[in-house]
């Protein structure tokens, strides 16, 4: 463990909550679940709520047409607000010292569906289809080309923990001095493969997802992009700790005891060198599936107790899969960035309020709830993925920034 500074120096994001910092923060703290939409096209014979990004996305620049796909458009939308900071980093450190570590679970597979559909009709793939559009590594290469970075660039894909894991590796590459700055985060796009795949697993909620409720019946899918400029500078908002684990249990269900989640949270606290009592807010993985919420609540209660304010923001944007760890770190970043003195306005837990007696009695954030923090504010975010891959991050901001 280096203990070296790791500054999340700038953030761009796009999700169902919007693209501008002001819009996203206002809707996040209001618990605005009105951004989800009901879709009846994607999965045969059923309708489902989705956290779709409905506003127009930037077009892929012509020289990068080989990478054209919705997933990369989400990444580009997340890059736009931080373009000046990223360009300044490339100029300051040199292109070879700027890396890219990004997560996705979909890459351009949504656009590959169109190519396969074209083949079904005509016998050949759409001729404008490139493998760069589809492959997982294409996201990192696209971001690197878009910003002119020539350092290491790779895509992490550990299902729903991809985004958190990307930030963990970006921090390590900076500490290793392999890079002076890394653009890191994730992008994940709604597509027929994930909507139909989760439908086949019986994992989708009939109504909007209702995490921690006795009435919860599954998750709501969404899409998002969130990219940070990560540097080795002190101050500002820091990525203080990372914890991660595997489950050795099942490909698509968590260990019911939450042992893997517990390890990730404990290791993140130890890595950050902070006590459990210092955590002011936990952004839960909180998918709204029966299995996730019961094991996560139990793990949170064991590691942090039942007083720490917790919420799932998935009822606002959906489960954005490979981007979840990054967009939820983005929400935590906003919460810290908008701190006023000792007051930390928290994203509410939006649900029906029907507490499940089978769940550990963790404290779920009410609308308008504000946490009081001391000289430094610390928050935690969890992401747990298929294949039994868990990642927890601890972010913090100090008065001395």
């Amino acid at each position: 463990m280096s203990g070296a500074p790791c500054r999340l120096a700038a953030l761009g994001q796009v999700s169902a909550l919007g693209r501008t910092r002001a819009d996203v923060y206002a809707r996040l703290c209001a618990g605005d679940a009105s951004r989800l939409t009901l879709d009846s096209e994607r999965v045969p014979e059923r309708s489902l709520w989705l956290g779709e990004v409905r506003e127009p996305l930037p077009a892929i620049p012509a020289p990068l047409a080989r990478f054209a796909c919705r997933n990369n458009q989400l990444a580009l939308a997340a890059l736009e607000p931080i373009a000046a900071e990223v360009q300044a980093a490339v100029a300051r450190f040199g292109p070879a010292r700027v890396g890219v570590v990004v997560g996705t679970s979909t890459s351009g597979v949504g656009d590959a569906e169109a190519a396969i559909a074209h083949r079904e009709r005509t016998g050949v793939l759409a001729h404008e289809f490139f493998y760069d559009q589809l492959e997982f590594g294409g996201l990192a290469r696209f971001v690197a080309e878009a910003i002119g970075a020539k350092g290491p660039a790779y895509t992490l894909s550990t299902a729903c923990s991809s985004g958190g894991r990307a930030l963990a590796s970006a921090r390590a590459l900076v500490a290793l001095r392999a890079c002076d700055a890394v653009v890191s985060g994730a992008a994940d796009s709604l597509c027929g493969l994930t909507t139909n795949g989760f439908a086949a697993l019986g994992a989708l909620s009939a109504a909007v997802t209702n995490p921690c409720s006795a009435n919860r019946d599954g998750l709501t899918l969404g899409e998002a992009g969130a990219l940070f400029l990560v540097t080795g500078e002190p101050g500002g908002i820091q990525l203080l700790g990372v914890g991660d684990s595997s489950e050795a249990h099942h490909m698509s269900a968590p260990d019911p005891e939450g042992r893997g989640a517990e390890t990730a949270m404990r290791d993140a606290l130890a890595d950050a060198g902070v006590a459990a009592a210092e955590i002011a807010y936990v952004n839960l993985h909180g998918t709204g599936t029966p299995q996730n919420d019961v094991m996560e609540a139990a793990a949170v209660a064991r590691v942090l107790g039942t007083n720490v304010p917790c919420s799932s923001t998935k009822p606002l944007v959906g489960h954005t899969l490979g981007a979840a760890g990054a967009i939820e770190a983005a929400f935590c970043w906003l919460v810290l960035a908008e701190r006023h003195g000792d007051a930390l306005a928290l994203p509410p837990h939006v649900w029906d309020g029907a507490r499940d007696p089978a769940l550990a009695p963790i404290h779920l954030v009410a609308k308008g709830e504000v946490a009081r923090v001391g000289a430094r504010a610390l928050v935690m975010t969890n992401s747990f993925g298929f294949g039994g891959n868990n990642c927890t991050l601890v972010l913090g901001a100090s008065d001395s920034r």
Partner: protein, 246 residues
């Protein structure tokens, strides 16, 4: 950027022992384009859920550590294509508006090999899965260094592998399309024979496909008497050097 390479293992059709790889490295020939290991070390229940890629990568992984280590090592799994061949069938289901197989869907995540390794080895340690086009092997090495930076006390098992792309996408990619996997235990410098990586940006466009995958070119070099290797990837040039321990 330095690490120790404590142990390695690799699998390709017909080349599945260290002696066979030593012989290949002395007189390397292009590798067979088809074949996959049986992976009999896996319980039958689990083996049934393994794709050819999973059996290939897990064969190299299990040959690269003692049973007790397999349950403890942090892991990096790297594959350019991952489970894309299995995803094609699911995409056809989607396009035809057919029901998807839930088991197939949950086994086509890019970290399927890592997940099944964790289950088979009883491993609860940190694990990463990645892809980086033609730069996948060097990215895997770097990701292992990232784990070592976070905790240098324990080695990391890095496993890289692929199988040839199915015909739907194969014409779109120029590469040595062979089934293979390479695994290495990497540790902090000083723990064993040393290897140093210097990455510099590539100056021109992508090179012609090499006769075998970059990870196996690395293995060929590691087993040779050559002190340095320069590998041209898509976006970077990897300069490898052997360094004395300590």
């Amino acid at each position: 950027m330095k690490a120790s390479l404590l142990r390695w293992a690799a699998w390709a059709p017909g080349i599945d022992s260290s002696a066979a790889w030593e012989a290949w490295a002395k007189a390397p020939l292009p590798l067979p384009a088809t074949g996959s290991p049986e992976a009999k070390f896996l319980p039958a229940m689990l083996r049934r859920r393994c794709t050819p890629l999973t059996r290939t990568m897990l064969s190299a992984a299990f040959a690269c550590a003692e049973p007790a280590e397999l349950a403890q090592l942090r892991t990096v799994f790297a594959s350019r294509h991952g489970s894309i061949n299995e995803s094609i069938g699911l995409l056809e289901n989607v396009v035809r508006r057919e029901k998807l197989s839930p088991a197939t869907f949950s086994h086509t995540v890019h970290n399927a090999q890592a997940g099944l390794f964790s289950i088979a080895a009883g491993n609860r340690a940190a694990s990463s899965s990645l892809a980086a086009q033609e730069d996948t092997w060097t990215a895997a090495f770097l990701e292992a260094l990232a784990f070592l930076e976070r905790d240098p006390r324990a080695p990391v098992l890095v496993v890289v592998g692929d199988v040839p792309l199915a015909e739907t996408f194969a014409p779109l990619v120029e590469e040595a399309a062979v089934p293979y996997a390479f695994a290495a235990q990497l540790a902090a410098p000083g723990a064993g024979p040393g290897v140093e990586l210097e990455l510099v940006p590539a100056r021109d466009s992508a090179p012609a496909a090499a006769p075998w995958p970059p990870a196996l070119e690395f293995l060929r070099w590691w087993l040779s008497g050559e002190s340095q290797l320069e590998q041209r990837n898509r976006a970077s040039v990897a300069r490898w050097r052997k360094v004395d321990p300590g």
